[in-house]
């Protein structure tokens, strides 16, 4: 710490700020300081691997700057493998993965960013090489190693697995309709390898850096997996409905909705529900935590919440800019309005046909007018 120019006072301040970040009592500051010390001394090691991802969660994590946990944690956290951060490459880098799995079994945290493709033997996402060789263009070369194989190697020795981002946690965009890669969320793969291995899902597209750092610290302070909701997400960050804490909630209650993007005057703070906001079905603390060091968040920037922290994202919360998700009815996936017009048309046709049938089939009574 001293080498980095961090005094004891500054360090305790960091710990206090981290407690505030996590919404914890000041009484826990010493505990957090201890956890940060442990991080600084290189414990526990972290292996950060990437599946079908866009690296957005890594970028989001690296963007954190208040409290300055990046300097303390990223620099000091023993991240033994991270494709974007590490200097090593090739066999040297993959050797670290294998070495950690063997030597530090039961101690390291495995962070997985992006889901796992399983179709075609997992060939849609590979990194590193297998020991075995296979013919390739007339000569023998080592086979590509799919992430699924890495999971089988790394999961058994992991103390805990963190699925970072919506894609890793729930499949996200790669697992949306008609996935050709056989995408599976991390928890499903882990269950197949080691049923009792704890998996912490940190949703979001991308995930908030506080959610990741907070979860790691929580794990270190309490030495156990934090309290999770039914989807495996830490309740500290995913326990509140966005709609309940939204800065535009008053507009929703007053019935003041934005209905045309051309009227999008931010001063009006009109509710974005009718423009596709999924805040009413999304559990996350975005409205209070905000993004980019508390600068803003989606709704504050006049963009509807897409529900990226939810397991139903993207598949069941799309179309993103439609106010209501589609209705699934008898295998038909469409809007209630379309269903309504079709039913109204069928009713009109039925009534018309019945009326004509009654009229055409009517016998003219004798002496009657018909």
């Amino acid at each position: 710490m001293e080498k980095k120019g961090v005094t004891r006072r500054q360090f305790i301040k960091y710990a206090g700020a981290t407690a505030a970040l996590l919404g914890l009592s000041e009484a826990l500051v010493p505990e957090i300081a201890r956890a940060l010390e442990e991080l600084a001394s290189g414990k526990p090691p972290v292996l950060w691997i990437q599946g079908q991802n866009c690296t957005g969660c890594s970028i989001s994590f690296l963007n954190t700057n208040f409290p300055n946990v990046a300097e303390l944690v990223l620099d000091k956290l023993s991240v033994r493998y991270h494709p974007n951060v590490m200097a090593a490459a090739g066999d040297l880098a993959f050797g670290v993965l294998e070495e950690t799995a063997k030597e530090l079994a039961g101690k390291y945290v495995l962070v997985v960013e992006g889901p796992i493709p399983t179709a075609e033997g997992g060939e849609y996402c590979t990194f590193g090489l297998e020991k075995e060789t296979a013919p390739f263009n007339g000569y023998q070369r080592r086979k590509d190693k799919p992430i699924e194989a890495w999971m089988e190697e790394l999961v058994p020795g992991a103390a805990a697995v963190i699925a970072l981002g919506n894609c890793a946690s729930f499949g996200g965009i790669p697992a949306a309709n008609a996935s050709v890669t056989g995408t599976k969320p991390v928890q499903e793969i882990v269950k197949g390898i080691s049923r009792d291995k704890p998996v912490i899902n940190i949703g979001g597209c991308p995930s908030h850096p506080d959610w990741f750092i907070g979860t790691v610290l929580d794990y270190l302070v309490n030495k156990r997996v934090p309290e999770l909701d039914k989807h495996g997400r830490p309740t500290a960050f995913f326990g509140k409905l966005i709609h309940e804490n939204c800065e535009r909630r008053a507009s929703f209650d007053a019935g003041l909705f934005l209905e045309d993007w051309n009227d999008n005057n931010p001063d009006f703070k009109l509710c974005l529900f009718k423009m596709g906001c999924k805040g009413p079905v999304t559990y996350a603390d975005c409205p209070t935590r905000r993004w980019n060091s508390g600068v803003n968040w989606c709704v504050g920037a006049n963009a509807p919440c897409h529900g990226c922290a939810e397991p139903t994202f993207y598949k069941d919360l799309s179309p993103l800019y439609e106010p209501l998700p589609n209705v699934n009815f008898l295998g038909i996936n469409t809007t209630a309005e379309t269903l309504g017009w079709v039913a109204a048309g069928a009713t009109a046709v039925g009534i018309g046909a019945h009326y004509l049938y009654k009229q055409l089939g009517k016998k003219v009574p004798e002496g009657g007018e018909g």
Binding site: H243, A254, G255, F268, L324, A343, A344
Partner: protein, 167 residues
Amino acid sequence: MRMKEKIRIPGAAKAMYAIYLSALAVSIYLGFNNLHPFLEGWRYPWQMGIAQTLGLFSIWTMALTAGVYIYYATLGKPKGWNEPMGWYRIVLALLAIWYFLLSYAFYLPNSWMKWLNDAFGGIANTWKAYDVFLWVVLLANVIYIYARWTRSERFPRLGARSGEEGV
């Protein structure tokens, strides 16, 4: 020609149906206007305020009328009431009560109907269900009106012949 039986309807039932139908028309109009605005652009707060008040008033009217009707058509049924399709009207009355609960959850999601929002899994799903039931209630009533007309003495005319009551 087989003569249709003379249909007798108590005045109270006629009045209740008239009130129910008026309230239904108002609530469905407002419901569709809420979810699929007929006019482009945003609406003024006073318009939305009136719409919400009218919407709540109409669904309360519907629910109360439906409740009274169910009693009147079952336990308190007057003699001589031989109007056909009584079962359909009971279904409509029950549907109206469900529609009242759903509309309440739609208009005031954090009111005493919060439990229904929770049961649906969130306000967005309540809105979706409300959107669907607007159509269900509308079409169920349109079908009833037509079906009831086919059972009346005046069918296929809209008006009764001179000298006939025609209900």
